[in-house]
Point group: C2
Chain length 368, copies 2
């Protein structure tokens, strides 16, 4: 087994152990409040009959599954409630790699490092295809990489780390080419509530029988620790995925599922809009201050990350530690996200201190 442990925890531990004040832009942990109904739902559940503390259905509490199905406009039988979007991606990727169609997995570079980790764990072979410079899908290169050995393509939109929101026609082209080679496509839409561009369209709209859409409420409800996600499988693939889910996890955690169900029912669109607007403002403020610092950067259309590049300062783990110690800003090394952004650093917009962070970076690079 040669899969690598993702490096997030390593950087977070280093930043937490640093001497001075460090602005944490490492994690994918929202720093804002969850919907009030999360707290209410959990408090009510704490008083429920003991019977409600026992196994929910393996594929998730019925009302929660139906709520998700209604929101995504799919048959509830296609929905599996998972232990976060992480498990949803694992189930989708495992289904593809046990399907016998091949063992190659096409991933878009820069890449969320859990994806190649999962591919290795599942005995697949990762094939990286570069995104366009602006983070959008390079449709020609992606389709050219799909062949008879391809079992799976994994897409993530809105994208971590580039902030790109994929054009639905680009996604469709990849899905159709994958179908031509009996390959599946997992589309991870966990940042679907953070679309600043107004152009995001779910891959579910393609109604393709080789597409698995994954998502969850970790980001949209600011509860990454609750572990409530879901996968929406095409009808012919869902039973095998439910079996794997049952054999690995039996089922997800019920207190979290119950609280999320309550929050789905009682949270209006204002909550989500405020979170989105807050992130868009932070992206503007952070990139404006990066301009002052003379950095190159991506302006995100969605999600909550900014990639930045400082001349002569590649995105290595060593340089990330230098910035923690000497600038008081913690980001992630671009080298963690595949091969194409080794010169870059990723900053997560999960702090109100984004302007201060960019100013600290500007001061540090001025002084070098």
């Amino acid at each position: 087994m040669n899969y690598e442990t993702p490096q997030f925890f390593h950087v977070m531990q280093y930043a937490a152990a640093a001497d001075g004040d460090v602005i944490d832009m490492v994690s994918g942990n929202p720093d804002w409040e969850p919907p009030e109904a999360i707290r209410e739902g959990l408090g009510e559940y704490a008083e429920a009959d003991a019977e409600e503390f026992q196994y929910p259905p393996s594929d998730g509490l019925g009302p929660l599954r139906e709520e998700i199905a209604q929101r995504r406009n799919v048959d509830p039988d296609r929905v599996i409630v998972t232990n976060g979007t992480g498990e949803a991606n694992y189930l989708g990727m495992a289904r593809a790699l046990e399907g016998g169609a091949g063992d190659e997995v096409v991933l878009i570079d820069p890449v969320y490092p859990y994806y190649p980790g999962k591919v290795s764990m599942l005995d697949g072979e990762t094939r990286l295809v570069g995104a366009a410079r602006d983070g959008s899908l390079d449709v020609a290169a992606t389709c050219e990489a799909i062949g008879p050995d391809t079992a799976l393509v994994v897409l993530n939109t809105p994208n971590n780390p580039t902030g790109a929101v994929y054009d639905i026609d680009a996604v469709r082209a990849v899905v159709e080419t994958a179908a031509d080679h009996d390959a599946l496509v997992v589309v991870d839409e966990v940042y679907d509530h953070f679309d600043f561009s107004g152009t995001f369209e779910s891959a579910l709209s393609l109604d393709a029988d080789n597409v698995i859409v994954t998502s969850g409420v970790s980001k949209s409800m600011a509860i990454t620790g609750f572990r409530v996600g879901y996968a929406i499988f095409p009808p012919q693939l869902v039973e095998a995925a439910k079996t794997r889910h049952m054999l690995v996890n039996v089922t997800g955690s019920r207190p979290a599922q119950q609280a999320v169900y309550t929050a789905y029912r009682e949270t209006g669109p204002d909550y989500y809009r405020e979170a989105r607007d807050r992130l868009a403002e932070r992206a503007d403020a952070f990139t404006a201050a990066l301009d002052e610092a003379g950095a190159e950067y991506t302006s995100p259309d969605g999600a909550f990350y900014v990639l930045a590049r400082f001349d002569g300062f590649p995105g290595t783990m060593g340089n990330v530690k230098t910035l923690i110690d000497e600038a008081g800003v913690a980001g992630m090394p671009g080298a963690t996200f595949g091969t194409t952004r080794k010169e870059w650093l990723r900053f997560a917009l999960v702090t109100p201190r984004v302007t201060e962070a960019a100013e600290r970076l500007a001061d540090y690079f001025d002084g070098r």
Copy 2:
């Protein structure tokens, strides 16, 4: 993929849909109250800072992991908090099968059906070895089945479905033979709090570097839906298991972990003793009434199941449905638990109505 979906949910659904009153002895869901501190812990957590709603460490909340380590007298670094004992078993079994030592897995028959399901999912080959008639380990037969192709032996004590509590010397003999063949042993001790015999000893006492012990609080705290379990790995195997845990689930659900931590701290031995005594009484009452019915049965030394055999009425799914419809008692088919107990039915002692259930069975078989 040829693994079978476990049949529990099928029987539970059939029983729930039945017309008349059915006494449910199917599930492994405790019917008693969880510790009061579970409710308190969850209620307090509902009011916590939003920061505490974000990812716990991948291997579990630090204080919870330390509490478990202290109770089991192991180094905290060896503990992974999992999404229930089900995931703990999956991690242990996966570690063995990716170790390259072979692909055969020795399981004891009668067998908890999730075990062979997981073996198939992990591309291993199950080799069933019969338990002794009283459910104890057949050490000679088990050791004889272990050979160069053996990657893993899985033991479960106190045992589901036989109620046997394995002699620690028998476990040691199997562990030593496994070590001779570079095979691992997963010992699932999830029923460790339900030992009526006073003879249970954890496999951790063997201090063997090829033993992985799994357990959890689903049964001991009567919260199967919370999904808090753990695996204790030998030091040289724990890192790879933590990586798999991270790649599959990222981490377990934090509200459940926090509530369990509170309950560990605030629940005295009385709670566990009362639950154990209640089950011992139910076992006595149920088997006494089965005597009246002229059935053969196992008297459990631990866990909370009774295997019973009625002449001329094998433990098929069809006969289980007949008993649901005509006797108003729901059990599990012995045929679900491997090959050796096809004539038997399993009844879970998770209802106060055990005497009534046995009387219903007696009436039904009297009238045939």
